[in-house]
Symmetry: C2
Subunit: 413 residues, 2 copies
């Protein structure tokens, strides 16, 4: 008998039929004697519908009101799922974020969880209840409704698991685990039975959509055992999905590369002909940071004759804003020659804990891309990741070629 | 400058376009210097959609979960309306029932308001905010979400007006006031510029759909000035709708009859051949009350040879349940001869404060119906109301004939 937190995504909750299936799956685990806390997302499409309504009335809606509206999606889900569980004869009780309560800061639309009061949940579990808690939402110290940002239900699940000291947090989604890369791009992609938190964190931050990055960060910090599973497989199958685990617990031989992530969400900006003097990076990126634009890759080359080029990438949504800032504020201020940009780029990243102890991964990556005639525009590395920025039209080609060269379709020996 | 509570119904909030119109109307009042608390209903159709989803998952849903789900309709509305007001440059802030907070008892799906904490509302009003409060919902002493039953947003509006000591509570709906009867049945129906609480209460309880009966009761009890207005007329027109007022304040000559209400929501049941002995009414209606079935009209005739017939009406939804109870429990217990029933009936009611001091209203009513060959099945009277039960096929005919005989299309002299 274990205490398990299960999170079900929007596709799993997509219709009354799907909710009934989720209820049966929960009943199956409950019948095995487990204590269950379940965190459902809003029914698929619902959050977009609600935010669409809000934007129709106010193109630049205040976060406080947006959260009041968006939080209803998960509120409906917890009520429906509790009813479906009751139909199966189980004791079940729903909670919104404020009812639990899940205390967050006041950063509307992207709040962070500060604490969770587990008294109600523990009492109900002790009474044999399945406890159904709304994902994605909380309450701030002033009694305002907050939401955690897209994919926030994953974070809710992990945070509750951490607060309860649960044995496992299971993330049920429409894929049956974490793959070496997206199988829609590389059909030979292989499902991983386990992966470390560090690798999962890099994969998530580099564009893998399986888990929300903050939930992985949270799980790593609070040492919550995380498992990714499909809610669409037969629930008495022996498919155990992908376990996300600590490196030190793992006694298997680590492969050099665990997976390949990619995304098209970024855009590249370059300030050319910049005098190479101390403080120039801050002079360029200061106004960008002030405008709340996150910067990802940053490149500055060795200067020639005291003049250099400075490049960085931002989220594609921020491209126009950043370009305008560079032209209007930064260029005159730093006396640059020009500003160029490109929003048709993609980032491809190799991720693997084994990179730490294996030289030559980057060289092998660049060789592979050269053979395919893919020009590398930017390079960025970390201890367990090597990323390149390429023209977005080469993205799939690059991912497929790298998957083959690093033999990710084969089990590591 | 006045403190006004405005309630907007589901049709008024039916689409983003309609919500924008509501926001403009509020801005119009705000520009005149009034302080405004606004109570919107869920967008039309939304509550039905939500309850439909719930019943699909559980045909007999627990009230606690049903309220969690249903309350989201108004939560979305307050957020959207606050955003629409902000777009117009107004300061606006939304509140759910629990945020206000509106404390209710724990009778899920039909909770009653116990108290309203007006601290947040008063603070925001003082800061020039339009305060938008979700109708229909509250929170019980255990932190559960509750709802007030269909039409509960009217009650929320009146209760807030009472708590704040507002100058007026304006109920905006899709009709422009209270009519002598439903204009769809009688095209000559006339809009009343004022009506007393007692009359409005009787009209509402007899089937007039303009206001929820509990809200009228509440307004009468707490002496809240209530006005029914249309949200579809031009908002700078001088249409003042219908004011619902205290008899004692009203210095106009009262007409004998103010209006005619009707409904098809009832069904009739008769237990025949019952021994006429003390306790027989309780023996028949006790089991009905125990099953939570509300009884409206009750008739027992003088007995003949110690044997009598006993008739009563219930809501049509309860007809089958009541019929089964009478046959299975009551009939053997009281040794009755038989049980009969009819769910094709309608009730037609004349309402008027002037009845108190004018004899002959009932006689004139019965004469009129006799002339039209409408058979009267049951009669029930109160101080300011006379109701008859007739075959439902005669309902419109009866209403039209009575409207003409009592000259309700003409202004009272």
């Amino acid at each position: 008998m274990a205490l398990i937190v299960q999170k079900y995504g929007g596709t799993s909750m997509g219709s009354p039929e799907r909710i009934r299936e989720v209820a049966k799956r929960i009943a199956h685990y409950h019948a095995q004697g487990h204590q269950l806390v379940v965190v459902p997302s809003a029914m698929s499409g619902e959050t977009n519908r609600l935010i669409g309504l809000a934007k129709e009335l106010n193109p630049d809606p205040h976060g406080r009101e947006l959260d009041v509206i968006a939080a209803t999606g998960e509120q409906v889900s917890v009520g429906l799922l509790a009813l479906a569980l009751q139909t199966l004869g189980l004791k079940a009780k729903s909670y919104t974020g404020w009812q639990v309560k899940i205390l967050t800061d006041s950063a509307f639309t992207k709040a962070r969880i500060l604490s969770i009061d587990d008294a109600n949940i523990r009492r109900d579990l002790a009474e044999g209840c399945v406890v159904v808690v709304a994902g994605f939402q909380g309450i701030d110290a002033n009694g305002n409704i907050t939401t955690l940002g897209r994919g926030g239900s994953d974070t809710t699940g992990v945070a509750i698991a951490a607060a309860l000291g649960a044995d496992e947090c299971q993330i049920f989604t429409d894929v049956d685990g974490v793959y070496t890369t997206d199988p829609r791009v590389v059909p030979e992609a292989r499902k991983l039975t386990s992966i470390t938190f560090e690798e999962m964190f890099e994969l998530a931050s580099q564009g893998s959509k399986v888990l929300q990055i903050r939930s992985v960060e949270f799980a790593g910090k609070y040492k919550v055992k995380l498992r990714v599973l499909s809610s669409f497989t037969n629930f008495d199958s022996d498919d155990t999905g992908t376990l996300i685990t600590y490196e030190e617990e793992d006694n298997m031989e680590q492969p050099i590369i665990s997976g390949i992530a990619f995304n098209r969400d970024e855009a590249k900006l370059t300030v050319t002909g910049v005098p190479d003097r101390p403080g120039i990076a801050f002079a360029i990126l200061g106004p960008i940071a002030e405008a709340n634009i996150d910067v990802d890759v940053i490149i500055q080359n060795t200067s020639f004759d005291g003049i250099t080029d400075f490049s960085f990438t931002v989220h594609r949504n921020d491209y126009n804003k950043a370009l305008a800032l560079l032209n209007e504020k930064v260029k005159p201020a730093v006396n640059a020659k020009g500003v160029t940009g490109d929003n048709k780029i993609a980032k491809v990243s190799l991720v693997g804990i084994g990179m730490r102890s294996h030289a030559g991964v980057a060289a092998k990556m660049f060789e592979c891309l050269a053979k395919e005639n893919v020009n590398i525009q930017m390079i960025s590395t970390s201890e367990i990741k090597t990323s390149v920025v390429v023209d977005e039209k080469y993205m799939e080609l690059a991912v497929r070629a790298l998957h083959q060269v690093f033999e990710l379709d084969k089990l590591p020996s």
